[in-house]
């Protein structure tokens, strides 16, 4: 059955810079924002943008991710004629094939894409936090009569050297890519969100497949080749909050952002909801001596102590006389009495004993307390 646009959500990355947070978990499955996983944000964008034909490409430690995504029920993507499909690596008539790069993930799933005979393919990655109406981007792409449209964000000029920068003419037509330029001509950074005309992309994927020195990557190989050959690439300027949570520091920062006045409607936005699973815990119980400020708390929590600028995922207990500041507490954590945490990320189901203190100073990377943290501490 023909669909105008197929969305390919690349959720296969290992996210190694997130350290312990991704040890046994694909990066898109990392918990975020008190009740979500990172991938909930692009998937909710798909629902809210009416992009109902979605392939989710997975490869790394996908058990939790696949269970979470399922057939897409929380995002209303369990549909009869399209909806969400998980695309894992597989062996075919010619043997097994892992995905080698972002472009290769599409090459190997060409049969999936072709089954919808689409005009356009929207490529997303599964590890950014943002709200975006892809339908508007597609409308822009069609209006420009573009071959490719790349979503871009204005970044502060002093940070341009950290991004892939796009140089455009006044009408947003791209004439040059610069990877992490030292003297940038533009502050438009690529967000890794692309719309391609499928017919054209297919040709370039075909060429790329046979190229032995290619990294099979959109940014490094496909887009430069398309630009070089004179195709029409346009930038689509995005306004709003966007965060790459690629490191422990930026993961922590993104959470603190959620507590700021100007961003607090990000999750509480009724016009652009973020959807996820729900595990039916009872409402949170705030006990008699609790003291809670500037925090986000989910169902099933029992709070007896003091919270300041912290995020509690579901089913977290914080006992009396404890103090949790600027910290992120994943589901099922038990924090004992007289505990003091600052700038700490506590992973799922960890038990923090009474009378313990963990503080990361403002100039240090936040401390990640993983399930084997105490074992390691004891054995070392």
């Amino acid at each position: 059955m023909k669909k105008e646009c197929v969305t390919m959500l690349l959720a296969g990355g290992a996210g190694t810079r997130l350290g312990k947070l991704t040890k046994n978990l694909a990066k898109p499955a990392v918990p975020f924002g008190g009740r979500y996983r990172i991938i909930d944000f692009p998937l909710s964008n798909c629902l809210n943008s009416r992009m109902f034909t979605v392939g989710v490409v997975t490869q790394y430690s996908p058990l939790v991710l696949n269970k979470h995504v399922g057939v897409g029920k929380p995002w209303d993507l369990d549909r009869m004629n399209d909806g969400l499909t998980v695309l894992s690596p597989f062996t075919g008539f010619n043997g097994g094939n892992w995905y080698l790069g972002t472009a290769d993930a599409l090459t190997k799933n060409q049969a999936f894409i072709e089954s919808y005979d689409p005009d356009y393919v929207l490529v997303l990655s599964g590890d950014h936090i943002y709200h975006m109406d892809y339908e508007k981007m597609l409308a822009q792409h069609k209006q420009n009569n573009a071959d490719v449209t790349i979503s871009v964000l204005e970044v502060p000029w002093k940070e341009t050297s950290r991004f892939g920068i796009l140089n455009t003419t006044d009408d947003m037509k791209i004439y040059e890519f610069e990877e992490k330029p030292t003297n940038a001509k533009s502050n438009l950074a690529s967000m890794g969100i692309y719309i391609f005309n499928w017919k054209l992309l297919k040709e370039y994927l075909e060429m790329d497949r046979n190229s032995t020195d290619s990294d099979h990557d959109f940014g490094k190989n496909i887009l430069p080749a398309l630009l070089h050959d004179g195709h029409k690439l346009y930038a689509y300027p995005f306004k709003g909050y966007w965060k790459d949570v690629g490191t422990v520091e930026s993961y922590w920062e993104a959470h603190m952002d959620l507590l700021e006045e100007d961003l607090e409607l990000f999750l509480h936005n009724n016009e652009w909801r973020t959807y996820s699973h729900d595990s039916n815990f009872a409402p949170q119980l705030i006990e008699a001596n609790a003291d809670v400020h500037q925090s986000l708390i989910n169902n099933g929590c029992i709070v007896g102590g003091k919270l300041d600028r912290s995020i509690l995922f579901e089913d977290v207990h914080v006992a009396e006389n404890s103090y949790v500041k600027q910290s992120i507490i994943h589901p099922g954590v038990r924090i004992g009495a007289h505990v003091h945490l600052e700038r700490v990320i506590v992973q799922e189901n960890v038990v923090i004993p009474d009378n313990t203190t963990y503080i990361a100073q403002a100039d240090e990377e936040p401390i990640v307390i993983s399930p084997d943290f105490f074992e390691q501490a004891t054995s070392s």
Partner: protein
Amino acid sequence: MKTMMGLINLNNEHDFLNELTYFRCGAAVPLAGRFRLIDFTLSNMAKSNIQEVAIFTGNKYRSLMDHLGSGADWDLDRRHGGLFILPPDWNDPTDISKGDLRHFHNNLDYFERGKSDYVLISGSQFVSNTVYQDLFDYHIETGADVTLLTTTYDLLPEHHACVKVRVDENNWVTCLSNDTKNRHVFTNVYVMRKSLLLELVQDCIANYKTHFFSDGVKANLDHLKVNAYHYDGYSAIINSVESYYRQNMALLETESYKQLFSEGAPVLTKIGNQPPTKYRGTSKVNQSLIATGCVIDGTVENSILFRGVEVRDGAVVKNSIIMQRCTIEQGVHLENVILDKDVHITENQALKGAKEKPFVIAKRKTI
């Protein structure tokens, strides 16, 4: 393998909650911050390996239909079995049945199609978080015709209406009455063979009876082997505004909260999609049960907030139950109040009820 099918019979439950049951039946009344009364019974059934559940509704069943939907949130959206909401829709001119027996008579196909040999019957007013598997195993083991789930309470006004049970040394039921001093209370949960149920139903109809339990079971105590299985866990009976308010407030005690919610599997309810609750810099919240999606600037004390409630700066909410999507503006003072859904309390209003008689505001009002 022996299995049960479930029947939630709301036919005999009255609309006891005044303003809260103008437009919904008692089973659909919200409680404990995110649940409806029926969630407890339905979750217990779902957790007891029951794959098919029928609900006999009276009138005002629409909010129940809305809430339950396909049953997916209770894992009951099955191709085989699943959830059947059965409102009163009678069209058979030859039908002579009366009372709740009309419901049985007009839904015989539910029992006939079902694959299970046993039926677990319940109302919606017994609030607990348990599985009925032990009750069922006990029923099979004793060889009883009917086994009643019973418990013991320190008697409160809400228990006056309950049937009380006397048993012999082997828990065989010797007397069912309304004895006001007997603390051994029947929970309205009972189990029996499907074939016996159908037999009793036919017998009641043929004799123009009106109440399945009273006329079919209680009246036949002589020739039926009726046993009682005693339940010791946390539970409550909710059948009046007073008991509703009391039992909600009881859950603000950590011990009761843990007993009801943390010791069993989760109580299932309709999935919302609310973000975590936001506590702002000026918030002061103590001894309260708070659902997700709330935004709190003000003071909340000894109260229950349902999903999406906003309490603005300087507002005080005390000993109150505030349902979904209410907004409490700046400077408001509420005490001993129950607000139904979507109520908007404008700036600086003060409302105060009594603990024994909370002030109830019907839904969608602006005050």
